[in-house]
């Protein structure tokens, strides 16, 4: 049948891509498998990782990342981007040392790697400010302020080129944010909504810690010597293949995927979760104009709440498992999407609890679930990575800063909870790899 062929095609494509990606990663060096940020962090602390900054690793990571993203797995790209950017920086500094002795200084080497990391994050999302701050928080313990402005310099130009290319490419009209939101600005939220934002923050703290825990448990389970893991280690290709098979089958849009918006690409997922509609009010009535891809979240038979909850639960374990696969991948984007879905869920619940909005000064302001989604995304990524600059990345991605205070509160609460329970995802990976 047609459906069956589609399924086979998707699954085969996914598995092929995952295996290409795995091969690339395997070919480069065993120590380099997985994300790039934990490794850079150890290098910046003075550990020498051979083979990390080589041309071979560069080629392997570029092809591997492309294949990994093509496989449709819920993996991010910030890790390999950081790796690729720092290889570029290291190669460039080796090249420049022919001309100036400054570049042979070991301090300079660290500086250049730090800036490379900032560029990697910055051009990954087109967010220069957030990229620099995120890379500082993730890699450093003590930060040389002189690198701060260098990082901005490099990251601004990389983000600039990134966005200008999409203008020349006619993808965008001019340089704007990647996931531009259009929330009302005169009254973005009411003070009475703040407890809900705080709850999102605290809940995201627990969820983020649980994500890190789950991720580590999967890795540790794969390490435990028993018949199954011995078999998997012997036949290395089986693990990525099985994971891809299961995830691709579950998200297959005409199948179970219809209950978890499986047809949406990660990018469409984010823009639809950040949209300006209230889905609980739409379902049942005819779709309004401009709904676009958000229609994937509305099922004729199943409530929006169930869809969002299913999406969140399924994607949660899928992301936790997928990021343990030995392919070039990051965890930022999948966690970001998870957080957005969670925030949206809370927002839709709020919109149902207060169907007529909140009255202030005689004017009725309706609740915007998209704003909750933005806050949830920032809070969950903040909790998983133990950073507060995810809030800045969010502002830059959405192009709106009106929710700054509730978002800062949510991100800080999420960090407080998560830092008390678990190490950050990157520290967890470092600990496990030791």
């Amino acid at each position: 049948t047609r459906l069956g062929e589609d399924w086979i095609f998707l699954v085969l494509l996914g598995i092929t891509m995952a295996l290409v990606s795995w091969t690339m990663d395997y070919a480069s060096a065993k120590s380099l498998q997985g994300s790039g940020i934990p490794e850079l962090k150890t290098i910046l602390r003075g550990v020498v990782l051979k083979e990390y900054l080589t041309l071979k690793a560069f080629i392997a990571k570029v092809i591997g990342l492309t294949a990994a993203l093509g496989s449709g797995m819920p993996v991010g790209k910030e890790g390999p981007f950081v790796h690729i950017a720092s290889i570029c920086a290291a190669v460039l500094s080796r090249f420049m040392s022919f001309f100036s002795g400054v570049y042979q200084n070991p301090y300079c080497y660290t500086d250049i790697l730090t800036v490379g990391c900032a560029v990697g994050v910055g051009c990954c999302f087109g967010t220069p400010l957030g990229g620099v701050l995120f890379s500082i928080e993730v890699t450093s313990t003590y930060f040389a302020v002189r690198n701060y402005w260098r990082g901005y310099f490099a990251a601004t130009f990389s983000a600039f080129i990134f966005r200008v290319l999409s203008v020349f490419n006619k993808d965008a009209v001019t340089i704007t944010a990647l996931f531009r939101t259009n929330f009302r600005m005169d009254f973005p939220f009411d003070l009475q909504e703040l407890p809900a934002f705080a709850i999102i923050g605290i809940a995201c703290g627990f969820l983020g810690a649980f994500f890190v825990y789950l991720n580590r448990q999967v890795v540790l389970f794969m390490r435990r010597p028993n018949a199954m893991t011995r078999f998997l280690i012997k036949h290395r290709l089986i693990f990525p293949a099985i994971v891809t098979l299961v995830i691709a089958t579950l998200t297959f849009p005409p199948g179970f995927g219809q209950f978890m918006a499986g047809e949406l690409m990660p990018r469409e997922c984010i823009s639809s979760l950040f949209d300006n509609f209230t889905w609980t009010k739409i379902s049942g009535s005819p779709y309004p104009a401009g709904l676009g891809r958000s229609a994937a979240w509305l099922h004729t038979d199943v409530s929006v709440f169930i869809i969002l909850l299913l999406f969140f639960i399924m994607k949660f374990w899928m992301s936790a498992v997928a990021t343990t696969m030995p392919i070039p991948s990051g965890a930022f984007m999948p966690v970001f999407i998870l957080g957005a879905a969670f925030g949206r869920l809370v927002g839709e619940v709020m919109a149902t609890l207060f169907p007529h909005g909140i009255v202030f000064d005689g004017i009725l302001y309706r609740i915007i679930p998209g704003g909750y989604a933005v806050i949830g995304a920032a809070a969950l990524t903040g909790a998983v990575t133990h950073t507060v600059s995810t809030a800045v990345i969010c502002f830059e991605l959405t192009g709106q800063i009106s929710h700054i205070l509730p978002m800062m509160v949510a991100v800080i609460l999420a960090n407080m909870v998560a830092q008390g329970l678990q190490p950050s995802l990157y520290d967890s990976i470092i600990q496990v790899k030791k």
Copy 2:
């Protein structure tokens, strides 16, 4: 006459306030006169400044700052705010050391002062993100990343209280930005406008360096031993009194002030410079609805360009001189206003050069001079203080992030030029004080 009485009243008020402020500053300690940021910077580098963190200094600074702001001089408040916040932090840490030995650790002391500085800047403008980043750039050489998140924590809550109080006070409807702008978001600017933004950046770099130079020359001139300075040192009160007299007279609204929007308070200045109108198109025709205080920039006989240019030139030397006065004052706000006026000037020139806007894809987009003003403000403050986080402060103050890339480019160019020519204003003050 009525006018004369008004003038006498304004000048007397100004002089009284300036003298109260001066007395307060003089009473606290001679080493503490002027801004607070350079002193904190030296303390954080390990120099012991006696009397800096005392209750006496606290009271003197609070009263002195209030009087200084009331005098109508073009001075800012970020320096004394930083000083006040770090005194609070130091007192709090001394109090907490009764309960826990952690607080007696010298590292902890530095940490608390750093966070205090972040809070000072953050609640001065209601900008937690920018406050933390600005305080890092201004005070530190190496920054402990652990303080980063503590700084956010403290600054977010201080900004939150600051904004919530204005909601309770019915000044604002809900928590929004201080100088909220309403630029169009679908197409904030065209790529063809980028050269103009770059020119603003480079020009602001030169202007910023010149501001620092001028400020230092005034201080050095007052130090040079000759008959006049000996007289001024003997009669200490004369210098602030004369400066206040001259500045208050020149800005007197019905007099010369009418040619430089003298009737506007600093806050009104900024919101009117950031407005959404194109003044060159308004002048002559009847005023549109919603123009508000911006009408002060439109004179029946004189062109908008002349008014803006006069405002810029007059305020430039006034700010440079006023910030040398031995009263509790900062230079951030005056420089910010100067930059906004300069950017607005360039924007109005652009709007005159391209009266029908810029065509892209068959649609005509008009030029928004307010956007140029925001970029100019960030670039000039960045050049004077040698920081790039003024861009973040601008986003938070305006609540709009749509101009992020041109602003980053302008701020970076301004920094490149200014750092090559002069030390930052704070470093310049430290060098002169030695």
